[in-house]
Symmetry: D2
Subunit: 143 residues, 4 copies
């Protein structure tokens, strides 16, 4: 059962030659880029991209990342990356599913966890910064 | 408490400019490359690098990878990556600790899990291939 | 004056966080990826992507690449990459112009040169392979 | 005939799996990283790495880069990268030769050109900054 998501989005990408390894599949480390592309699309939904994070006085480094590889993406295939915001209190947790676009087959499941760090002090914030709650307010109301 | 390792090795690297992001620290996805460099050094210890894997009729794709980010590596710093073989039966599990070389401070903890896939059939092997056991035999005897 | 192009195409991309360096601009080496994305779009126009190249018995390694950097792309900016096929006899020469999408300002000018290598022999082909001429025939007739 | 170099250095690297493409050779764009590793070693010779550049008030973006690919590096091969400082007045020009370490065969020839940009103004400097001349003075005296 999937965790309930406050927000989700699906991004599409074509597998490029430079991401493919000598086994003719995407090198496992390159999925981290795909997650980032999808995460950025998700953050855009509530107006909180990297530049907006900085403007809010916080950065949100990733402190935990896990990827489970089920099947392989190949050159010139299109993939979809679903990103789902499943936690936003104290920390941001996003879950991802990478799929083969043509067949819908699951290729990779992943999650990332980010915490807020105040840029002025370099200190990790143990409460959710108000700026994030403000950004998410329109979506929280809908629930 | 760390799992007991059959084999371990420590690799050193200097953080390069192209691995550093706009926060002036190594982009989190680039640690996956550091793990691979260390893993390849570990595999060399028992004569089982990627080309030798192929020659043995197996590939060993990564099916699970987790990284926990504790602190950040910066441009021009030297890091050490300790890689430890903690499982070799049925699957290969390697644990990693990335440290700041100068201070010894832990930057990242990680693990990867690889399974054997027979290249002729594309089938996953549920038993440890004999070729791996043969490669590890000299180290198993010492235990 | 620009060389006359048999075919051209323009691709759009958003600059991702993982492509940006500590000077907060795209690392110069990452433009090579942008060129490849655009080149692949150009090759698609005449049904000759990497997989189709292989099927035709040839690979087309890049033997010469030059980039002139005029200005810098920044995080979250959209860029356009124009790719123009300016030579196809004996070798493939493609010229590129990377622009800031919003302003049209030129960021990078580049070219790549590829030669045909017969896969069965590993020998470089000094004449244009017939397969390439066949692929380009519909466009050559229009001229 | 090679241009005379004020300073030169040779760096060694082992080709990693993540740099190799589906043709089982190093992807052409990854040589840009190898050049950077060698360039950084060269800059260290006169105490002018990226952090020292910044401390001197200048950055030195690459404005021109050319690579000629002669032969291919393969997985697990060791390569050497010779970097030679051939111009330092007005601009920095470095020439590179990448070789197969085992055979000495030339794989890639390249050059990069960098110009000084004053960080406080963002203006390109048309004269060589005094800080660079000071760094190079010990080597200029020897000539």
């Amino acid at each position: 059962m999937k965790a309930k998501a406050l927000l989700s989005t699906t991004t599409e990408l074509e597998v490029q030659f430079f991401d493919v390894d000598s086994m003719r599949v995407v090198w496992h480390g390159n999925y981290v880029k795909y997650l980032e592309v999808a995460r950025c699309e998700l953050l855009k939904l509530f107006d909180y991209n990297y530049l907006q994070m900085e403007a809010s006085g916080y950065m949100w480094p990733i402190v935990d990342m896990r990827l489970k590889y089920v099947a392989s993406a190949r050159l010139s295939e299109w993939i979809t990356i679903e990103a789902r915001l499943v936690e936003y209190q104290t920390r941001i947790k996003i879950e991802y599913i990478v799929r083969d676009k043509a067949t819908g087959a699951v290729l990779t499941k992943a999650h990332t966890i980010q915490v807020a760090v105040e840029m002025s002090t370099g200190e990790m914030s143990f409460n959710t910064p108000q700026c994030l709650l403000d950004k998410l307010a329109p979506f929280l109301e809908k629930e």
